[in-house]
Amino acid sequence: MTDSAPAIELKGISKAFGPVQANKDISIRVMPGTIHGIIGENGAGKSTLMSILYGFYKADAGEVWINGKKTTINDSQDAIAAGIGMVFQHFKLVENFSVVENVILGAEDGAFLRPSISKARKSLKKLADEYELSVDPDALIEHLSVGHQQRVEILKALYREADILILDEPTGVLTPAEADHLFRILDNLRKEGKTIILITHKLREIMEITDTVSVMRRGEMTATVKTAETSPEHLAELMVGRKVLLRVDKVPAKPGETVLSVKDLRVTDDKGVERVKGVSFDIRAGEILGIAGVAGNGQSEVMNVLGGIMNATGSITMNGKPLPLSGKAADGQSRRASGIAHVPEDRQREGLIMEFTAWENTVFGYHLDPQWQSGPLMNNAAIQNEAAGKMERFDVRPPDPNLKAKSFSGGNQQKVVLAREIERNPDLLLVGQPTRGVDIGAIEFIHQEIVRLRDQGKAILLVSVELDEIMSLSDRIAVMFDGKIMGLREPATTDERELGLLMAGISGEPGTDDWKAVEDNLTALEHGETPTHG
């Protein structure tokens, strides 16, 4: 296998967007029948490279060789003709079309649909048997779970006879069980001789499934190594350019008094759907309670109620005093006054005003505090001063308070939010997706700050879809599924497998039928039915 021509060979690819050099003289060889991982931080140039390969961008310099032949790829049609298929992070499916209609979209033969549909149906059946890629061909996309939608994307590529499959961050939206299934599919494809390029920022996935891994940093390819000959620590170092602490360094929690007590919390959304169905939990001083779960199972709503963004019923007591759950007394201002700080899940839509400067964002939510006023006006000088200090203490780069929030990288934006919320010294800190879209170097820093606040005896509620993050930060873990807490676990006595099953709504003893039950539950949920397995 090693002496055949590479399935893909890129030679000296360069691409600049304005002043930004997204790809700098990149060369890579991907051998046929292997899974080749490409790993790197946000903005390292992974997606740009793949977009060049798929014909979305034209490289400024360099050559693309496919199966030993020099190939020019001007658009996605060329890429498909060369046997390349791409599964994007954000699926490109027509929601109200059926699976089979989506599969033939753009690959119809002739003027009539019927022959293509029956041809596609046959070929879908064949692919499903070969690769464990079963999807109901007549189901509408909008009724499918995210995992199934992803399979349709893979089927689309295979139907177009792709030999080379590129997957961009494929597991971001999947449960651990669904991710496992995806990897089984990828393994089957590899056995059939397909070549797969897997783009990810998750080290664990690289280690689990790839044969070779290339690391990108700041537009350059810093290394290509055999996966078997490397370690996560080594890869992280290659990605960031310095040694990185992957495990969170923390002493056992010393929990004190109960700070927050939530009883029978229920939230109904605008459309009248009950999103949180009777949730109860306590958080004590000096501990981190992590809420794990697939996005959309009610965790965000719990955070938003506590942060004063949503109304609810039930009861919440904070430091022994009941908190209102609706009306003006339950808004963000009142919550801040009662000692709750909130790092929201979506910093770009909630935590920051992207068009505001960093210093204006430094007091966002606290802008009414007397210390930021001077007479009838705001004391901008004091705020600017505070911002400069916060940016220095939290190592925000570049440390310029006059830059707009949108000009900072994701990690630095998050540090601006964290600095604002943590330095309030709150009794309870709500943290949602603290490291989403944040580079590895900043993740380490952010985790340390959260643990430091815990060690000062503060209560912390962490919501994250990254199971690794939940496992390494939390002192206790609550798993939410379908608006309910499926169970409380401690990180020392549980594992990702058990949590993964809880995330899919299965709380019984793990058995051999796990996978089937997970599928049934998730599908039922997508159809708006009640999950049957529990």
Binding site: I309, E350, M354, G365, H367, M378
Partner: protein, 365 residues
Amino acid sequence: MDRMPAWADVVLIPLISLVLAAILSALAILAIGESPAEAFYLMVDGALMRSSGWGYTLYYATNFIFTGLAVSVAFHAKLFNIGGEGQAALGSLGVALVCLYIPWPHWSLALLGSAVGAAAFGALWALIPAYLQAKRGSHIVITTIMFNFIAAALLNYLLVNVLRPVGAMEPASASFAAATHLPTFQSMFSSEGSTLFRGSPANISFFIALIACVFVWLLIWRSKLGYEIRSQGFSESGAKYAGISPSRIIIIAMLISGALSGMMGVNATQGAAERLILNSAEGAGFIGIAVALMGRNHPFGVLLASLLFGFLYQGGAELAMWTSIPRELIIVIQALVILFTGALDNMVRWPLESLFAGLRRRKEG
């Protein structure tokens, strides 16, 4: 990273747009057989070369400053207030009621009273669309347009049936008492031997408009309310997170906007007409939209744009008086300026942005 320097955005783009509008206007004037050069000379001569011309230019500019600021304030909360015309009409009504029914001892007190009346009536007229937007989600663009028509009909009714003096043929109120008449520029700046601003309507309201510019600047960029208005304008979900009530901001921003529009009545109705006439807003409510667009919703920009449109109004009137260029063509010229500076902003912006990007790349490369 910003794509081009701020000065290019603020100065260069409006300037290029203006030149383009001027070129097209010149072609239009040429097409009907008149000389563009002579027309331009007449406009400049009539609007800027004599103090009486300036008196008209500044009078119009005062109207546009109020309505332009009104649109800007609402726009910072991401509300498109098209209702300036109706709010100005109601503001004029407020001015008239205050001037007609309260026996003022001195113009300065009358000015205070009418300013409050104008602001209150204008704000009230904006309150209903604001409430409908905040609580019922009725789109503010639609409701404020509708309220322009309602305001016109209401004023028509009141002038014909209520405010018209017995026996008068014209749908207008009685003239205001002399004690309410505001000092004109002519009375303020003329000295013995030299009369300045002769016969022109510019009056002390111009300085109130300048104060309003400073007020809006402080409000939007220096006050906590302005901070909240801008937060809401950029991101409603962000505002909710920060505990800022979107409906409260919508209502307050529209109240301020309506009050500013209404203030135009002080200039037009008390300062110039000295009685309430039909259509006292003279379309300034709509010009305010163009002024705000061209002024980038900044008070200083609004001031400059208002002066430009004041010039166009006065210069246009001169053209109509001294040449055979029809009145309609003057409206065409004004429309071209609005089209280029407002609606076709991106036509100039995009080439300019890529030009600057190219320059920067060459410098770095």
